[in-house]
Structure formats: structure tokens, C-alpha cells
Amino acid sequence: MLRAQDLHITFNPGTPIETRALRGMSLDIPSGQFVTVIGSNGAGKSTFLNAVSGEMKVDSGRIEIDGIDMTRQPVWERARHVARVFQDPMAGTCEDLTIEENMALATLRGQRRGLGWAVKPALREEFRAQLSTLGLGLENRLSDRIGLLSGGQRQAVSLLMAALRPSRLLLLDEHTAALDPRTADFVLQLTVRIVAEHKLTTMMVTHSMRQALDVGERTVMLHQGKVVLDVSGDERKGMTVKDLLTMFERVRGEQIDDDALLLG
């Protein structure tokens, strides 16, 4: 399980452009749970995911995965436990490497890398089988540079790559946002399938309230660097996008009132 406790991140502290991106962000995610994360632009969603993956250092707070303290670990060390798919399809793959080389890289995520061949015939067969489940014909293009694929295809391969090696946490930051609606839907369905197949503990950021309620089993809303709404179970089942929006507005309204009080 993931345990994030009282995380604080401030960008450019002490300057006029100071941004308090995380302000006491806490979230526990039990093993196997699929959480969707929503919140307006600048709420701190990406910053939170980056803090968990290690890409950003937290000013204070503690990050644990299955009881292991990760707070001070660099990205490459956390990668053993954390898999991720980025928003930008170009970010999650190496465009100069072939499809099979990218996948070979991912099969050893967080493992020791030695002087054995990176791509072996047995591995190649496994990749072929995995790729054929996508139905995109990529199983015949193993030695094509991945830079030749479309954004949607690259994102689909990134998802497969994330699941090639067991992980304790899967992070998805708006990973369908750069895709056209049909491809986005395809990648989302693929996400649901892969998460279910591997029983992955997952955190998925999305801007679509619809998506946030449709997939996964819990939805949290971030606002000004912390969780302001956390729904799951029966409460979430009966929820409509409209309910969620209303709650969203209410939270924001209250926040503005608070600020007004403070300023006044």
C-alpha cells in the first residue's frame, strides 16, 4: 500500500513567484485499490505523482510503499516498486530504440542490469504475444523504432511496459489526455484490463469527471495541494458527474471564503 503523510512542496520559496504546490497532502491507498484523482489545473496532482515517483523532492512529509520508507530514495531506486505512464506519449518511451528494446528495458525495471543480451528470442516471443493483445498489428513491428508509432500506439505500448514487471504502485498522469477521443477510450479500456489482470494498486489522474467515476473504485479530489474530497463504496456508486461537480464547486467556494476571511 501507499502511505503519503503530510507532504509539502513549495516551488521558488521566498520569491514573488512562490508556489505552494503541496500543502499537507496525505493519502493512503490500500494494496490493489484503483484510485482516480481529479482537481482543477494547478491543484497539485502532477506534483503529488512526481513526489511519489521521486522525481520531485518533498520539503517535508513521508512517503511509504508497503512499509518501506521511500521519502529520500531517487527515482531510479523507487522504480523497482513504482511503474508509471506519462501524459506525453513521447516521454514514456525512447524514440531512438526499437519497440522490442523499449520493452526489454521495461522487463528489467528496477532490477540489476548485467552483460547478458538485452533482447533474447524467448523474450521476443513474449513481447510478440503481449503486443498482439493490443490488436494494433504491432507484433509484426518489433524491430521498428518506437518513434515511428503514433501517440496512441506509444501510449498503449507504455501501458504494456508498465505491467511487464510486477510493481507495488502504478502511476498514470492524464495518460490519455494527448490522444483523440477514440484512441483515448481504447487506452482507457486497456488500462482497466491491465490493472485488473495484474491487480495493480493504481493512481490515475484525469480531467474527465466521467472517467473518474467510471473506472476504479475510489475518487479523490485535490485542491490547493491537499485532498478535499474522498469518495468510495456506496457513496461513489450512486454518484453522478453533476453531484461531483456540485461538491467540487462547494469545496472551492469554501476555500475562497476561507481565504477571504484570512485576508479580511
Partner: protein
Amino acid sequence: MSLYTLLGALEIGLIFSLVALGVYISFRLLRFPDLTVDGSFPLGGAVAATLISNGTDPFVSTIVATIAGAVAGVITGWLNIRLKIMDLLASILMMIALYSINLRIMGKPNVPLINEPTVFTALQPEAMSDYVLRPLLLIVVVLAAKLVLDWFFSTQTGLAMRATGSNARMARAQGVHTGLMVLGGMALSNALVGLAGALFAQTQGGADISMGVGTIVIGLAAVIVGESLLPSRRLYLATIAVIVGAIVYRFFIALALNSDFIGLQAQDLNLVTALLVTIALVVPKLRQHWSGKKLN
């Protein structure tokens, strides 16, 4: 051109193909614009020549020179990775530092190797002329280097190194210690350059403090010429291309220097190289411009 000149050009071309392979690793695979080369090439020469003239076995001397090159590369990488100095600047600092270090090693601006044994004289059979043997031996060395690189970059570690150059963020997310990969790649790159310097000193009759000037541009020229002659993203073809590029480039230079009607002299070499690299860099862009669409 006589056979002698031709073999001489081949010999230097082969030596510089080691430099070119090193430059290919730093500039292309790691995307690290590394000018250390201008210092690690004479470093290799200085170490080898000094050791040999002090009576050390030429093979041992050559190996030590190669290791010295690797160390220089690691320091440049370290300046960049740990001290966060911009890559290009880090390599310039190292290059400048090496100028002093090379003078210190040699104790004077040049160390001649006239009657001392070299790796070439040690392997010289009675029946063969030295100017035939040297290119032959160098072909073996260069091919061995090429095969080792081809192998290494298809291993798990080698792949991680290539990923680091191509997309460091992704590599880290896959658990690759990218800092270590840069250090390793820089070591490999400059080890090749150090080796080239050591061999160069042993074929040219000694090491000289100014033997490194323009090495990086020659290496880059070789890479660029090779890539335009034999464009390929497959690694085993790319390494061939780089080697061919270095040799072809060297033949051009020999041709230019030996044609009286062009009237070029040895001191014009760097200017010619700079022009050649400029042309090679601009031509693809012009071609792109004319054809009106993006290439590759």
C-alpha cells in the same frame, strides 16, 4: 598518390576511427557534447610515450594510456553529473586542465619515440614492411573495438546506457541509474580516444603537446561523413559507418595535401576540417529546405 601515402592515410584514418567511435558514443548515444577528446587524445599519447621512453613494455603502456583516457572521461562526466556544470563547459574545463596535465606527464612539450620499441615494432615480422604492418594491425584493433561496442550496446547495461542518452527521464523511471551510465559512457568514449592517442604517438614517432588540437572536430567530421555515406540507425551499421567515415575523411585530406594544384599545406588541415563539418551540417538542412518536408 603513392602506395606509401595511401597506406599512411589508411593508417591515420584507422587510428582516427577509434576517436570517431568514441565521439559517436558521447555525441550520438549519450548526447553529451564532449570536447574532452582534445585533451584525452594527447593524454593517451603522452602517457604511452613517456612510459615507453622510460622502458615500460609498449603493450602495458598502451593499456595504461587507455585507462588514463577513461579516467579523464569519468572526471568530465562527474563535473557534469555531480557538480551540475553544463556538459559542454565541463568538457572544456577538462580539456584545458589536461593541457597542463599532459605537459606535466611529459615534462617537456614533446617526447620522441625513435628507437624505442612500440606495439608495432614488437609485432614486426622480418618479411613485411612496417608501413604495411601498421595498417593491418590497426584494422584488427579497430574491428575488435567495433565488435566489442556492438556487443556491449546490445547487452542489458548497454541498452540502459543508450536509453539514458535518448530519454533520461524514461530511463530513470525504468530504474536506470542514469548518472552512472553517463560516467560509464564517458569512460568508454575517452578510453577509445586515449587508445587512439597512444597508437598515434607510436606510429608518428612520439607524442607532442599540440597533437590534440582539433581532434574533436576530426572525430565529428568522421561521424558526420560516415552517417551521410551510410545512414542507418542500426548500431552495427552505424559503427561501420563511423569507421568508414574516418578513413574516407582521411583520404580526402591526403588527396588535398598531395595535390599541388590545390596548394594546401599541413597547417590548413584544421580549417579544411572545420569547413567540411560545416558543410556536412548544413547540407542536410538545405536538402530539407529544398524538398520542403522533414527528413527522417
